[in-house]
Subunit: 149 residues, 2 copies
């Protein structure tokens, strides 16, 4: 009979916290100097979800305050990785656009992570690893829903 005590959730969250820390370090080791994980997350978001996103929408997607997003975008723009343009639909807001430099950096970073990622996949039984993803998604969705209540 498995241990279904809520106490194991502490273990689960502790492991997740450590993995987050280690994977973030792995990513940031590949990023250009001065850029950190949130910068990369924005580039990736623009790439996957479409260029020209509005800052407030990204702040909501990442669940960070809009002031944090302002700061992150300022860093990316200073490095020439994104370009901020006026939003023709709404004079209060802007739109964020990947530059070729930003797109290239994002792709190179992913490429640099390849070997480490392949290491994980071969060392840990890829199928079993992929198998836990749905459960993590479920957990994330539950926490996300509970956040409002």
């Amino acid at each position: 009979m498995p241990d279904a005590n809520p106490r194991v959730l502490f273990e689960l969250f502790k492991e997740i916290g450590i993995i987050e820390q280690l994977s973030r370090a792995l990513l940031e080791a590949q990023l250009p100097d001065g850029l950190i994980a949130p910068h990369f997350a924005v580039l990736n978001h623009l790439m996957m979800r479409g260029n020209g996103a509005v800052p407030i929408d990204m702040a909501r997607a990442f669940q960070v305050p809009k002031t944090s997003m302002t700061h992150t975008l300022k860093g990316l723009a200073a490095g020439g990785y994104v370009e901020l343009r006026h939003n023709p639909q709404d004079g209060r807001s802007k739109t964020v656009w990947l530059t070729p430099r930003g797109e290239a950096m994002r792709n190179e970073t992913i490429g640099k992570l390849g070997p480490a990622f392949e290491d994980v996949m071969t060392a840990l039984d890829a199928n079993a690893l992929v198998g836990i993803l749905p459960k993590l998604v479920e957990l994330r969705e539950h926490l996300d829903a509970a956040r409002d209540t």
Copy 2:
């Protein structure tokens, strides 16, 4: 045939990052004003691993710089949750001791988290959730080992 492409690791780490963020918010909502997750982690560590730990050892356990540990301990000591004593074994270092106030606060915080944790356990099929823990431990251990190379 499952998707064993290393790309799914991005998904995995992304979910883990979000869960870390949400669970940290859940914890910090229960902590006294001015205390955050690292403070709680120290109290918990002293409780589980034994009172009187040396700061540098905790810094290593949490894989944070020793300056960060100094800062965290200063906050806990200012609130009266821990007490710093000289280390009779080593004049360079100190030892960290839970106060009754610190122990009580840690226990109360865990108590306050109970309902939310039980929600998760009932909503998500506790057995399946517990089942992913070994795989997460494996992943953490692999990343930890790869950190040095």
